[in-house]
Subunit: 435 residues, 2 copies
């Protein structure tokens, strides 16, 4: 689409992990941002214009609201929407083995397709323009993202009970080739669900295809203790000793880290994805986010799956990242708002390998959102970054654009299927599970 | 207004702290709910109908969405909207003495009026139908609530620097007589800002007017330690020893409680108001909510003021109440969703003395909200109570009614003044503060 946003405030990257707000216009041509400026600099404008001028599909008066880069949800399991509010108030291991795994075994490919679409719809309502999805069967999810026009980076969830190394290698090539909107990184579920043989195979495959490797890492204290009993090493140390991190990657959750784990993350420039709402709801713990920042270990933010959160809302996560750090460190000044907004946008893009849509800039992919300042929670207009991190909410998301296409605007979805159709499918699936 | 809601799901109180969802109709006549049922029980219907039948102002097809009791925000400082995102990332004492108090000293009465209106607007977006507001100058706030048609229970914020006991007694009578929408309970700011002489006077006044007493209690560890140094007692023990609780009341925050404090709360049936987002943001700590429930001490939920939260959102608070309890107790099963929803509705009403609008029932005041289930975060429809506590968001609030009047519907406000006018005023106030 060729879209001209005008009369806008535009949130641009500043130096380091800061932001700057300018006033002006942002032009999208096809799937890319071709111009950001005050709209008067004609020499810069005309280089992007056809001889006859750009033919605008739409010109949108932004009404002095804020255009910013879309959020990147750096750890999800979209298909688990079906278990939202189904099996709550249980500890992680019981929840996983007695509720999640048995119900997931009943899922058909087509179920996963519809359940992922529901997840994508919720991402859009929260201004999330791409997600980093681990699931044991990623192909129907990739089809859902591609059909909706949504950007998803997948990672395999290899473990002893599903997927083989051969399947993972096959998925790696298939999904990376499938569409501009989908890509694939290597991953396994977690140390405690994956045999040493498979872990060694994963390390070899990472070396072969030159992929980073991701897994659930140090989510609970018992997970780390058990791993040390088995191997005399934490999950991070084990992965490092197996040569898993030659091409980078990182961990989801990353709560119970030892000194050497921080060292390995620093040395390899691995990325810690924090999942605060899930870590509260499953009583897992509070991640050492301030320490990650102090060590200059990059941090990204994920909602985790809708069965353990239960919503897919980057606003809630952003508040929690800073709020939990503050109470954990007993320091109300730590992990300030700008750092958090950086994690939720550029930090997430770094985790997912999406350097082409990590911020708003000319030439980058048009993955952006429009934030309504004319809501009481954004008033007075003291400080936009603080307002959005401490007070922002889904109701502030006026528009979500992925790859140059508007997929969500004024609470309506433009993803090739009606909301009602998606709701009907997912309710049928859970009805079937119950019987 | 005479309004017929039909084709609705209606959330009614169950036994104890549970809820039940029925399908049917809810009728509002004037400011009261006159009928809840399936709309076919004509004998019950006709007792509420004039000879010529009720003349409906509106008949609203609820589309199988959920009507429920409005949320009660049991601890607020509405006027502090002006400091939202102004002085963040500071510890409580520094924030209070170096930022809040000096800026508040610059406020004029009319400023407080407009700042409270902004707070009321945000409450409405979050389905909050009444708030329990402590502020040193409550009269302009009471005027704002009354002019907007919003329900507010005020409490004095007596301390060594503002208000006298005579002024508090005067406010008590004035605000309780002012309008059906405003009432007043006694309160002082906190032990650490109030001399023993004033505290004794407050106890005598409570006895005289037979009011419960409220104050910030055990918000930080140092507050409790300092109080013990001064008096050899915690704030709760001190208040009890002064005879402050003869007519009940309770505390805001209630984080650092000793055994005897729990005993006093039980014995006096005092109410603990928890403020989880504020307690994170100011690094104060995590309240012992599970223990309160175990001891059968009633709990209510408050957002605290917008300078320390920074948003006024009961959905975020509800998730935090259960999430923080789970991680604090290392027990993912504790403080389940129904308990939290009870705290946010009936529990809050109990704290505020609003037994006439604490739940949906025939004869009660029509303080209610309409929740949109046709949003991805409410799908699939596994369990409404869990969906709303774990996944709910401001964008699910379709309509907020207070005292039988619709004050907010489909993101529009009906409070006698335009949103733009309120935003203009509050931005002017903060501009003036800056210079």
């Amino acid at each position: 689409m060729n879209i001209r946003f005008y009369n806008a405030k535009i949130l641009l990257p500043g130096t380091g992990h800061t932001f700057q707000l300018i006033e002006g216009e942002l032009w999208v041509k096809g799937n890319r941002i071709v111009y950001i400026g005050d709209g008067t600099d004609t020499s810069r404008i005309y280089e992007h214009v056809e001889p006859e001028g750009i033919l605008w599909d739409r010109q949108i008066d932004v009404g002095k609201n804020v255009l910013m880069s879309g959020f990147k949800d750096a750890h999800t399991h979209s298909a688990m929407t079906f278990l939202r509010s189904y099996a709550d108030d249980l500890p992680l291991q019981e929840w996983l083995t007695q509720q999640v795994f048995p119900k997931e075994a009943l899922l058909k490919e087509d179920d996963i397709y519809w359940l992922c679409k529901l997840g994508i719809m919720e991402y859009l309502t929260s201004g999330i323009t791409s997600n980093f999805d681990m699931y044991f069967a990623p192909l129907p999810g990739a089809r859902a993202s591609s059909d909706c026009g949504f950007r998803t980076v997948f990672t395999s969830g290899l473990n002893d009970f599903c997927e083989s190394l051969e399947e993972v290698e096959d998925l790696y090539h298939k999904i990376n080739a499938m569409s501009d909107l989908t890509s694939f990184k290597l991953g396994f579920h977690a140390e405690y669900t994956t045999s040493l043989k498979l872990l060694e195979g994963m390390a070899a495959l990472a070396d072969k295809v030159r992929s980073p490797v991701w897994f659930h890492n140090a989510e609970t204290a018992s997970e780390v203790a058990d791993c040390k009993k088995r191997y005399g090493k934490t999950p991070t140390q084990l992965a490092e000793s197996l040569g898993m991190y030659a091409y980078g990657g990182g961990g989801y959750h990353c709560i119970y880290f030892e000194e050497e784990d921080f060292e390995i993350f620093k040395k390899r420039r691995l990325i810690a994805v924090t999942n605060p709402a899930s870590n509260l709801k499953l009583a897992s713990g509070i991640a050492p986010v301030k320490r990650f920042l102090d060590e200059k270990i990059p941090v990204a933010i994920g909602t985790d799956g809708p069965a353990s959160n239960n919503c897919l809302d980057m606003f809630r996560e952003m508040f929690l990242v800073t709020g939990l750090a503050k109470v954990k460190e007993q320091d109300a000044a730590c992990v300030p708002a700008e750092e958090v907004l950086y994690m939720a946008t550029t930090g997430g893009a770094e985790a997912m390998g999406l350097s082409d849509c990590d911020s708003l800039a000319e030439g980058k992919l048009a993955d952006l959102i429009l934030i309504d300042l004319k809501q009481p929670n954004m008033q007075p207009e003291n400080d936009f970054v603080k307002n959005i991190v401490y007070s922002g909410s889904k109701q502030n998301v006026l528009l979500t654009m992925v790859n140059g296409e508007i997929l969500y605007e004024k609470q309506k979805f433009f993803i090739g299927v009606s909301a009602e159709e998606v709701y009907r499918h997912v309710n049928e699936i859970i009805e079937r599970m119950r019987t």
